[in-house]
């Protein structure tokens, strides 16, 4: 309720509605930046400091978004950083505000441009006749696969995990099949089996953290560890605005931002069991973990719009970005 109250104070209902609309077709970071730009346009602040306070308050509200908190936070931080830097360059408020808005437009386009760039950089890693294993549903991965198939005319097959509970694997499968790429959907639990015939693993990420590790949809970490054990290359495709100044050491470090699942399971294939048998008891609880942290040692390369990076190079880029 406290957050609700905060929301009402800092962001109008329609701004929030716009934010959720942006979220539907944009990654969290870009959606957040769009909201912040709208805020600047409608802001009544007359000083940079006032503007910054307003933006910060709005950013704090946006970060409360459950599913994409980390990605939104990194987008907001990046934007705030940019505002501070611009403020240092311009002494006049109006000139500064103008510059920020101009740059904001650039940010808006950034998302699609980054995706194209990544697709171009990453697609050559898919060789003819290869089998690519992927999990979840990532816009960047889709763009990359489509680029490889359509622009580079690569012939390859895709192994997909079904991504249980969200069922996004099926959506992705349909998208790829429609584009003429042969797809096989496998069980989430069958990744170790499926990986044996895969040549490489390619996943998206919600956030790329400071040490080059990634926070992404649950199941990515186990896939990375199995790929590491099988000596299969594990690649991540992510835009640079997903780089976050966040340094998890354990899985539990990202739990704070992981929503606890509602104690309900998707109906098993065999049919609907009676509700009573599923009800939680003091000794029986359900937890739905939606994301995990993959350590950099399991990642071979990251395809980003800054180039193809090793995990250790991510920190270098972050230092340059935030220094």
């Amino acid at each position: 309720m406290a957050s609700e109250k905060l929301k009402n104070e800092q962001l109008s209902a329609e701004q929030l509605r716009a934010f959720h609309a942006h979220l539907r077709d944009e990654p969290g970071a870009i959606a957040a930046i769009k909201v912040l730009i709208d805020l600047i346009q409608s802001s009544a602040a007359t000083t940079i400091m006032g503007l910054q306070i307003e933006l910060q308050a709005a950013a704090d509200v946006l970060k409360l978004h459950e599913a994409e908190g980390i990605s939104i936070a990194s987008g907001c931080e990046l934007f705030m950083r940019f505002v501070t830097r611009t403020a240092l360059d311009f002494s006049e408020y109006e000139a500064c505000r103008h510059k920020i808005l101009e740059r904001g437009e650039f940010f808006k386009e950034h998302s699609t441009r980054a995706r194209t760039k990544i697709a171009e950089l990453g697609a050559p890693f898919i060789r003819d006749g290869a089998t690519v294993l992927t999990t979840g549903f990532s816009r960047v991965v889709v763009a990359l696969l489509l680029h490889a198939a359509q622009a580079l005319k690569k012939r390859f097959t895709v192994l997909l995990t079904e991504s249980h509970a969200s069922g996004l694997g099926y959506t992705l499968a349909r998208t790829l099949a429609a584009a003429g790429i042969p797809v096989t959907v496998i069980d989430d639990a069958a990744v170790a089996v499926g990986l044996e015939r895969a040549d490489l693993v390619l996943c998206g990420a919600e956030a790329v953290v400071e040490n080059g590790g990634v926070i992404s949809k649950v199941g990515t970490c186990q896939l990375a560890i199995i790929a590491h054990a099988y000596r299969k290359p594990f690649y991540i495709a992510a835009e640079s605005f997903k780089f976050a100044r966040h340094y998890p050491l354990h899985q539990r470090d990202i739990l704070g931002s992981t929503p606890r699942g509602v104690p309900q399971l998707a109906p098993p294939v065999g049919g609907e069991p009676d509700a009573a048998s599923r009800a939680p008891t003091p000794l029986l609880t359900y937890e739905r973990l939606t994301r995990d942290y993959t350590a950099p040692k399991y990642i071979n390369l990251l395809f980003t719009d800054l180039g193809v990076l090793t995990p250790s190079a991510v920190s270098d880029e972050l230092i340059k970005l935030y220094y």
């Binding site: 340094y247 050491l249 920190s315 230092i319 220094y323």
Partner: protein, 582 residues
């Protein structure tokens, strides 16, 4: 008979002794007491001859002897150990014989040889070598009588002219494994320090000196050394000032005093002359104890700052500006940096954490205290090891702040790691290849942590980041006093129950008992006091070790939390900043 001074003490005529006794008296009373104790032990266990030690007058006499010995030449009253020829040492004979058997050109790399030696023909070299071998054999025969080599015998190192003039005398035995680096170091030395007698061959390239009662400065250098610096050097040598930050701050403050008392000579400019004035001060400090990487960084910074001063600046103003710069360096890079690190590091301490730490790093202590003051509930396991038992000081302070502390020896490492969720350690330096130089023992803690999949966090200020690369802890390291390994502090009954794995309450009680025995100094056990007499035994007291990059999860510096691979990036960005800002 073997006590007769074969080697002429170099510089005995022109080197007046600077009396540092007064300075020494100012030193911390406790450290002086322990120093005396140690020196007394050394002398007592190996008397060179009954006449050399004036009976009864132990420490004052020794103190006098150490100071005045070289002055008085070969007057009978001088205790001989100061000038015993190096050939008489059984240890050297043994290692020398082993070495020369293997290498035909052993004498060619003798650093102590006069430069003219290069011109020798092969035949001459051969002859010289034969002669040295014969000399060695002769002295070995003499030494086998069982006369122990007395402590403090002077090296042949200064004997450049001595060996040149010693056609008839046996030439000094070339020190085994004495590389050119070591020779160069020796040449730069201002102080006449006594090289350690029984160096470990693998580490012979590192400077290591006997712990001396007093350190004498030859007259030609004496006037150059500022009294504050002179005092500081002795404090370094005695170990009164320890810890990387404390040593660095003390050094910078001493340099401030030097700068304040500096007057530009006529026809010279401050920004060019001051550095040459500082150089002997730095060299003197290096002679007392090798400087750490962070101190080297600070010295580089200071030199650059001096050079950047405008040439036309009035002297008083320039001096003030420099002192202000030093003050802000201390504040920004050391004091505020560790405050920032403690805030950052504390954010990484979560409820329910079990944090393993080793040694006693100031930043680590601050991180833990700051996390505790934020209301995080966690447990700390302080690991500790000989010879300094630095962890005791740490847990005492942590317990005083009501933290939940366990204290364990290094042998309990793998047990402690089982329950650990994080390892948090300080560092002496972070290197370009991501390796971390830290208190000896840190590497095995990190190794064990990595085996147990426990993240290793290193807290380190950026002024300790170095551009160099180290692959092992052999090439560059510091050798501590081997005698520190000899003395064993007794584990009393109370401590026995407490020290192994004590929780706060019990540990406090045990600590009290320990403190008593340590401070009292009466119950110090010395189990290996005669190690110098055991020809096959050498003691190695390494100060640092290198933790490779792969074992370090995160480096916490004042610029943020970064993986160790980003150390060079931070160095680069920082340098750009200092260039553009000034």
């Amino acid at each position: 008979m073997e006590l007769s001074p074969v080697e002429t003490p170099v510089g005995s005529v022109d080197s007046a002794q600077v009396d540092f006794q007064k300075v020494e008296r100012d030193l911390d009373a406790q450290s002086r007491a322990s120093g005396e104790q140690r020196t007394f032990l050394k002398h007592a266990h190996s008397p060179p001859s009954p006449s050399a030690l004036p009976g009864g007058a132990c420490s004052p006499a020794l103190r006098g002897a150490g100071l005045g010995a070289r002055d008085e030449g070969s007057v009978g009253a001088v205790p001989a150990p100061m000038r015993l020829p190096v050939q008489a040492r059984p240890s050297d004979v043994i290692s020398g014989a082993a070495g020369s058997a293997g290498s035909a050109g052993a004498s060619a790399d003798a650093p102590d040889a006069p430069p003219a030696k290069k011109a020798l023909t092969k035949a001459e070299r051969r002859e010289l070598q034969e002669r040295q071998r014969a000399a060695k054999a002769a002295t070995a025969g003499a030494a086998s009588g069982g006369k122990p080599a007395p402590f403090g015998s002077k090296q042949a190192s200064t004997g450049a002219n001595a060996s040149a003039s010693s056609a008839s005398e046996p030439p000094p035995v070339p020190k085994q494994h004495d590389t050119t680096d070591a020779a160069k170091l020796r040449k730069q030395r201002l102080l006449e320090r006594t090289d350690v007698q029984k160096a470990v061959a693998l580490f012979a390239h590192l400077p290591q000196y006997e712990r001396e009662k007093s350190i004498s400065l030859p007259a030609q250098h004496a006037c150059q050394i500022h009294p504050v610096v002179a005092r500081l050097g002795l404090q370094y040598a005695e170990g009164v000032i320890q810890g990387a930050n404390a040593r660095c701050v003390a050094m910078l403050n001493a340099f401030k005093a030097v700068i304040r008392d500096y007057h530009t000579p006529p026809a010279k400019t401050l920004n060019r002359d001051l550095e040459s004035r500082l150089r002997p001060q730095i060299q003197y400090l290096v002679d007392c104890r090798p400087v750490g990487i962070n101190m080297g960084n600070s010295i580089t910074w200071l030199k650059a700052t001096i050079a950047k001063l405008p040439a036309h600046m009035p002297e008083a103003e320039a001096k003030e500006a420099l002192c202000a710069e030093i003050d802000s360096f201390i504040a920004e890079r050391i004091t505020l940096a560790s405050a920032a690190i403690s805030a950052l590091g504390a954010s990484k301490v979560a409820n329910g954490d079990v944090i393993v730490t080793y040694g006693c790093a100031h930043v680590v202590e601050e991180i833990l205290l700051s996390a505790h003051s934020r209301g995080v509930s966690f447990r700390v396991i302080v690991l500790d090891a000989r010879p300094h038992w630095e962890g005791r000081a740490l847990w005492r302070r942590l317990v005083a702040a009501h933290l939940h502390v366990s204290y364990a020896g290094m042998h309990a490492l793998s047990y402690a790691m089982r329950s650990a969720t994080k390892v948090l350690m300080g560092a002496h330096a972070c290197l370009s290849n991501g390796a971390v130089v830290s208190r000896a023992g840190s590497a095995i803690v990190a190794l064990c942590a990595s085996r147990e999949n426990v993240p290793v966090l290193i807290a380190c200020e950026t002024y300790k980041f170095a551009e160099r690369v180290m692959l092992d802890s052999i090439c560059a390291n510091e050798l501590g006093d081997p005698d520190d390994l000899v003395t064993v502090r007794p584990v009393r009954a109370a401590a026995q129950t407490g020290a192994a794995a004590a929780t706060s309450g019990a540990a406090l009680a045990a600590g009290g008992a320990l403190a008593e025995s340590v401070d009292g100094g009466a119950n110090v056990l010395a189990c290996l006091t005669d190690w110098r007499d055991v020809s096959t035994l050498r003691l190695l007291n390494l100060t640092y070790d290198v933790t490779p990059c792969e074992l370090v999860t995160m480096v916490i510096s004042e610029v943020g939390m970064t993986p160790p691979t980003s150390v060079p990036v931070i160095i680069r960005e920082y340098r750009q900043d200092t260039i553009s800002a000034r």
